[in-house]
C-alpha cells in the first residue's frame, strides 16, 4: 500500500506546485476525487521518471519544472514535428486527475456497434458524458468535472460554478464562460431552436437566469428553490450545456450570419430551416441528436473527437484521441489511453451479435446484450477472447403492471382505484413461477421499488402483497366484485363481465410471456383478463390518449427514485397508471388533465419539498417519506427485481469493473471512466 500511496502524494504535490506556480487559486483536485481502491500494482515505466522528477521539482521550486505530464506517442510525434504545442500547454493549469485502478498504457482501437439515426446515445454513453459535474462511479455523490467547485445558496435558488481554467476544445481554443453564455442566450433562449425550455431548467414556471460573472465563473438563478439542479447537471438532461463551442457554432447560427450567406449554406445542404442545419451540425437544445458527431473535427471536450462523421449513409463512424483532453491519471499521463474508436453502423442486431461472438467488438453493453443472446455469447467467449461482465439494473422492476386508475370508463375507474382490488390482483400472481419460467430464476419477487442496495429501500414498498395466495386474493376481490357469472368470472356492478386487457410492447418478449402468465393467474380468481402484445408505438399512442385498461412496461428509479419517480407517483406521462393525473401535474390546462385525489396530491406536494431541499441528505429523507406514502397508496404492481444484465469486454481490456450499474440517468458506462479503459 505504501508505494501506490506515495505516488498519489507525489501527484498531489505536483499539482499543488503547478497550481501555485501558475498563480491561481489552488483547488486540490485530487482531494475531491472518488476514492476508488488505489491499486496500481504494476509499475508503469513511462511514469517513473515523471514522478521522481516531479518530486524533486516540488522540493526545489527554484529549478525549472521537469515534464509533469506525459502524452501518447502519436501526440508526442506531432509535438516534435511542431504541429501541436507541448502537453503542458495543452492541458489546463489544473487538469482533472482521475485515479484509475490500473495505470494504463497508450494504444489500441476500440471497436463497437451502433444502430443508425436515433442511436446517438451509443456515443453519448461511451464518450459524450463531459459535463460541469458528474456522478461518482458508485453513483452516490456528485464530483467536479469541468466545474472545479460550486456554491449553492441556502434556499437552493442560486448555483455558482467555478470553471476549470485553461480547458481547451479539441482545436485548441479555450473553453470559457462565453461558451456557456452562448449556450444559454443563443440556444436555450432562442425561441426558434428551443420552443419550450427543458423542465429541469425551469422552476416555479420560470426559466433559470444565467449570469457570466467572469470568464471562469458562472451563476444560475432560479425563481423558486430547485434542489435537484446538481443532479440534473450530472445526468443526461444536461447534455447540451458544455457541448456548444461558440467559435464553431456561430458558423451555423442565424443570429451571427449574413442572410445571404445563411441562405447559400441552407441551399447547399438542402435544409429548409436554419434550425435544422444547426441541430444537424451543432447540437439540439436537449443535447440529443447526432449534431455532436456529424462534422469531422468538430471542436469537442470529449476524450475522442470525430474523424469520420456519422451521416445517414455512414457504415462506420471513427473517432481519434482529442489532443487537448483535460484529464490525467495519477502518474500524469494524459487520458485517454485508447487511440481510436470505430463504431460500425448496423442495420440489425443479429449481424452485430455475430461480430461480438467472433471477437470483433471490444467492449459493449448495448443492443445485443439480451437474456436470449447470453448463451451464444457465453459459448463463444474463448474463441472471441472476451469476458462477460455484470450490469446491475437500476430499474425498479422487471415488469411494472400499470392498471389505469384514471380510466375513461367511470365504472372501470372506480374498480381500479380501489386499493383492495389491486391487492387482490397482486396476491393472485405466482411470482416465483414467472421468475423461474421467464427469467431463468434470476431476480426475486418484488413490487416496483427502490433496490435493496440503494439508500431508498423501503421493505413495505418492495415486498407487500407479493406472496402467492389465491385465498387472500379471492378475499380481497370479493370485497370489490363479489358477483360472478356461470363461468365463474366476476361481474361489474352494472352486470357486465369485468374485462381487462393488458397491453404489452411486442418487442419485449419477456414481458409478453409474463403478461400471458398474469392473465392466466387472474382468470383463476375470476378476473377476465387478456394479454395483448402490440407494436410499442401503438401502445404509447394509446397510453398517451388514456385509452388503456392496463399496460406492462419496465421501470427506472430503482437506484435513484428522486430522478425518476414515475412508478411511485404520477409525475409525467410515463406514469401510465394515471395519465390524467400526471397531465394535471405537469400542465393543468392539458385537455386530458384531471385533478387527482388528496392522497395523490399529497405525494406531488412532497415531491416539491424534495426538490426544494438543498442537501442530498435532506432530499433522501423527504424522498423516503414520499416512498412510504407511495407504499401505502400502492399505485402499481410489480413482478420481480430486474434480472441482471451483462456486457462484453475483451480479455485484455483493463479498468473495466466487474459490475457496472445500468441506468440512463447514470449514463452507463460513462461514469466508470471509459477514457481510462486500455489494452494490457
Amino acid at each position: 500500500m505504501s508505494r501506490p500511496f506515495s505516488y498519489r502524494l507525489v501527484s498531489l504535490l505536483v499539482l499543488l506546485a503547478l497550481t501555485l506556480g501558475a498563480c491561481t487559486t489552488a483547488t486540490p483536485t485530487a482531494a475531491v476525487e472518488p476514492t476508488s481502491p488505489p491499486a496500481p500494482t504494476n509499475t508503469a515505466k513511462p511514469a517513473e521518471p515523471t514522478a521522481t522528477a516531479a518530486a524533486e521539482a516540488a522540493e526545489q521550486p527554484t529549478e525549472p519544472p521537469a515534464p509533469l505530464y506525459t502524452e501518447a506517442p502519436d501526440l508526442a510525434e506531432k509535438v516534435a514535428a511542431g504541429e501541436l504545442p507541448p502537453v503542458e500547454e495543452r492541458l489546463p493549469a489544473n487538469p482533472l486527475v482521475v485515479e484509475s485502478a490500473e495505470v494504463g498504457k497508450y494504444g489500441g482501437v476500440w471497436r463497437m456497434g451502433m444502430r443508425g439515426g436515433t442511436d446517438d446515445a451509443s456515443f453519448y454513453r461511451i464518450l459524450g458524458y463531459e459535463t460541469l459535474v458528474r456522478w461518482s462511479p458508485s453513483w452516490d455523490t456528485i464530483i467536479p468535472s469541468l466545474a472545479e467547485s460550486w456554491e449553492v445558496s441556502a434556499d437552493a435558488t442560486e448555483y455558482t460554478f467555478a470553471l476549470r481554467k485553461g480547458v481547451k476544445w479539441s482545436d485548441g481554443v479555450e473553453f470559457t464562460a462565453n461558451d456557456l453564455l452562448f449556450w444559454y442566450e443563443d440556444v436555450i433562449m432562442n425561441p426558434e431552436l428551443t420552443r419550450s425550455v427543458p423542465g429541469w431548467l425551469t422552476s416555479g414556471g420560470e426559466t433559470v437566469k444565467f449570469e457570466k460573472i467572469d470568464d471562469y465563473t458562472i451563476k444560475f438563478t432560479f425563481a423558486k428553490p430547485n434542489g435537484l439542479f446538481l443532479q440534473n447537471l450530472a445526468s443526461p438532461d444536461s447534455r447540451s450545456v458544455t457541448n456548444v463551442p461558440k467559435h464553431f457554432a456561430v458558423q451555423y447560427h442565424a443570429t451571427y450570419l449574413a442572410a445571404d450567406k445563411l441562405a447559400a449554406m441552407m441551399e447547399e445542404g438542402g435544409y429548409a430551416a436554419w434550425t435544422d442545419m444547426f441541430v444537424a451540425k451543432v447540437v439540439q437544445a436537449d443535447g440529443g441528436g447526432m449534431g455532436p458527431y456529424n462534422v469531422a473535427g468538430r471542436p469537442t471536450l470529449f476524450a475522442w473527437m470525430v474523424e469520420e462523421p456519422f451521416s445517414g449513409n455512414a457504415t462506420q463512424v471513427t473517432l481519434v484521441r482529442n489532443p487537448y483532453y483535460w484529464k490525467v491519471d495519477q502518474n500524469g499521463q494524459q487520458y485517454p489511453y485508447i487511440d481510436k474508436m470505430v463504431f460500425g453502423v448496423y442495420q440489425d442486431v443479429p449481424s452485430m451479435l455475430l461480430k461480438a461472438a467472433n471477437g470483433e467488438i471490444d467492449f459493449q453493453m448495448r443492443h445485443f446484450n439480451t437474456l436470449a443472446n447470453k448463451a451464444v455469447l457465453y459459448d463463444n467467449m474463448e474463441k472471441g477472447d472476451y469476458r462477460i461482465f455484470d450490469l446491475e439494473q437500476a430499474g425498479s422492476n422487471s415488469n411494472v403492471v400499470m392498471l389505469n386508475l384514471t380510466h375513461k370508463d367511470p365504472v372501470m375507474r372506480e374498480i381500479l382505484q380501489n386499493k383492495d382490488f389491486r391487492v387482490g390482483l397482486s396476491y393472485a400472481i405466482n411470482r416465483q413461477d414467472i421468475i423461474n419460467t421467464v427469467y431463468v430464476t434470476m431476480g426475486e419477487a418484488s413490487q416496483p421499488a427502490a433496490l435493496k442496495s440503494s439508500v431508498f429501500y423501503n421493505e413495505q414498498l418492495a415486498k407487500q402483497f407479493t406472496e402467492y395466495d389465491v385465498a387472500k386474493a379471492n378475499e380481497y376481490l370479493d370485497k370489490v366484485l363479489p358477483d360472478k357469472n356461470d363461468e365463474g368470472f366476476r361481474l361489474r356492478p352494472d352486470g357486465k363481465v369485468f374485462t381487462i386487457v393488458i397491453e404489452i410492447a411486442n418487442a419485449n418478449i419477456d414481458q409478453v410471456d409474463t403478461g400471458n402468465m398474469i392473465a392466466k393467474y387472474w382468470k383463476a380468481v375470476g378476473i377476465m383478463a387478456e394479454a395483448k402484445s402490440e407494436d410499442r408505438s401503438l401502445m404509447y399512442e394509446r397510453k398517451n390518449n388514456n385509452d388503456l385498461d392496463a399496460m406492462i412496461w419496465g421501470g427506472e428509479g430503482g437506484f435513484n427514485p428522486i430522478l425518476d419517480p414515475r412508478n411511485f407517483f404520477p409525475n409525467g406521462n410515463e406514469s401510465a397508471y394515471a395519465v390524467a393525473w400526471a397531465a394535471w401535474y405537469t400542465n393543468p390546462a392539458d385537455p386530458l388533465a384531471e385533478e387527482p385525489p388528496a392522497e395523490v396530491k399529497a405525494m406531488m406536494d412532497k415531491y416539491a419539498e424534495v426538490k426544494s431541499a438543498t442537501t442530498w441528505d435532506e432530499q433522501v429523507a423527504m424522498m423516503k417519506e414520499l416512498l412510504q406514502m407511495s407504499a401505502d397508496y400502492f399505485p402499481c404492481l410489480g413482478i420481480s427485481t430486474a434480472a441482471k444484465g451483462y456486457g462484453i469486454a475483451k480479455n485484455n481490456m483493463g479498468n473495466v469493473p466487474d459490475v457496472i450499474i445500468n441506468s440512463w440517468s447514470y449514463p452507463t458506462p460513462a461514469p466508470v471512466n471509459t477514457f481510462a479503459f486500455f489494452y494490457r
Binding site: 427543458p198 441528436g289 449513409n313 470505430v342 461472438a357 448495448r366 404509447y540 427506472e556 405537469t586
Partner: protein
C-alpha cells in the same frame, strides 16, 4: 407509335399523383407519429426523452398540422424545388440520404441480374433440350429449392457457416480499410469481392424462376413443326435451337423487364437487413418503423416512379415487338 407513347406518358401523370397521395397517407395510417415512435424507441433502449423535447419536435416538424397541409408542403417542395423534406430521424435532408444508397443498390441489383442471366440461360436451355435427363432432375431440384427458400434464410445459414468454420463475419459491402476510402480501382475491386455473395443469394430465386420459365417456354417451342423442319433440313443443332426457339422463349422476359427497376430499389430489403448492406432497403424499412414520414414517403414515391417508368419501358418494347398493341 408516337401517339401511343404520348398517350402512355399522359396516363402516367394521374397515376403518379395518386401514387404520391397513397404513399403519404399510408405512412400516416399507423397510430402515433414520429415523436411517439421516437419516444418508444428510446425508452426501449433504456434512454428517455423529455416531454418538452417531443413537443419541440412535433412543432418543428409540423406534425401537429392536418395531413393535407403536410402533404401539400411536401409535394410542392419536391415539384418546385426538388426538396424531398427532412428526415426526422437523421435530421438530414432526404435527398442527401437516398441517392448514395440508390447508387449502391443499383450496383448490387445489376450484378445480381447479370449473374442470374449468366447462370440461368445455359441451365434453362440444357434442361429443356435434355428433358428428363439426370442433369435436368438435379437442376430442377435445385431450382425448386431456390424458389422456395427465402434468400435471407440462405444468407443467414451461409453467414453462420462462415462464422462457425472460417471464423469470418461478412457484413457490409467493403473491407474495413475501404469503408470510408475515396473511390479508386482498389476500392471497386474490394466492392466486387464483397458483392458477389449477396448478389448470388439475391439472384437465387430469380435464377431458379428463370430456369423454370425458360425450360417451359422452350419445351413448347421445341415441339413446333418449324423446329422439326429446320432439323430435317440439316440445320446445325445449336442453330436450330438458339436462333429461333430460344428467341421466342425469351418473349415473357420483355414484359417483366419493367419490374427490374422497382426491384432495384425495393428488392433485397430483408437480405440487406440481414447482411448489413448499405442499400436502400434497410433505410426504407427503418424509416417505416420509425414513422420518418418524409423519408419513407419519398422512397415510396421514387419506387412508384420507377415502377411506372419500368412499365412504360416494357410497354414500348412490347409495342415494338407486337404491332397489335400499337394500333389498339
Amino acid at each position: 407509335m408516337l401517339s401511343f407513347i404520348f398517350r402512355r406518358i399522359l396516363a402516367m401523370i394521374p397515376t403518379l399523383f395518386l401514387a404520391s397521395i397513397v404513399a403519404f397517407v399510408i405512412i400516416q395510417l399507423p397510430p402515433g407519429d414520429f415523436a411517439t415512435s421516437y419516444m418508444a424507441n428510446l425508452a426501449a433502449m433504456g434512454d428517455t426523452v423529455s416531454q418538452d423535447t417531443l413537443e419541440n419536435l412535433r412543432e418543428a416538424y409540423g406534425l401537429d398540422q392536418p395531413v393535407m397541409i403536410q402533404y401539400y408542403k411536401w409535394i410542392t417542395g419536391i415539384i418546385f424545388r426538388g426538396d424531398y423534406g427532412l428526415s426526422f430521424e437523421h435530421r438530414e435532408p432526404v435527398s442527401s440520404l437516398i441517392w448514395d444508397r440508390i447508387w449502391l443498390t443499383m450496383w448490387l441489383s445489376l450484378v445480381s441480374v447479370l449473374l442470374t442471366w449468366i447462370i440461368a440461360f445455359p441451365i434453362g436451355i440444357y434442361s429443356a433440350v435434355k428433358q428428363y435427363s439426370a442433369g435436368d432432375y438435379i437442376f430442377t431440384l435445385i431450382g425448386f429449392i431456390g424458389v422456395s427458400v427465402p434468400a435471407f434464410l440462405v444468407a443467414l445459414v451461409l453467414m453462420y457457416l462462415q462464422f462457425k468454420y472460417l471464423g469470418q463475419t461478412t457484413s457490409g459491402l467493403f473491407s474495413d480499410e475501404y469503408i470510408s476510402a475515396a473511390w479508386s480501382w482498389a476500392r471497386v475491386k474490394d466492392l466486387l469481392a464483397h458483392l458477389w455473395l449477396p448478389a448470388l443469394i439475391l439472384g437465387l430465386s430469380g435464377t431458379a424462376e428463370l430456369i423454370r420459365i425458360l425450360r417451359a417456354n422452350l419445351l413448347d417451342e421445341l415441339r413446333r413443326p418449324y423446329v422439326i423442319t429446320a432439323r430435317a433440313k440439316g440445320l446445325p443443332e445449336w442453330k436450330a435451337i438458339l436462333k429461333y426457339p430460344v428467341r421466342l422463349a425469351l418473349n415473357p422476359f420483355v414484359s417483366t423487364l419493367g419490374w427490374i427497376l422497382p426491384g432495384l430499389i425495393s428488392g433485397s430489403i430483408i437480405l440487406s437487413q440481414v447482411m448489413n448492406l448499405p442499400t436502400t432497403g434497410p433505410l426504407l424499412l427503418r424509416s417505416l418503423q420509425s414513422q420518418d414520414m418524409y423519408l419513407a414517403g419519398s422512397m415510396i414515391l421514387v419506387l412508384s416512379v420507377a415502377t411506372v417508368l419500368g412499365t412504360f419501358v416494357s410497354d414500348i418494347l412490347l409495342a415494338l415487338l407486337d404491332p397489335r398493341i400499337r394500333y389498339q
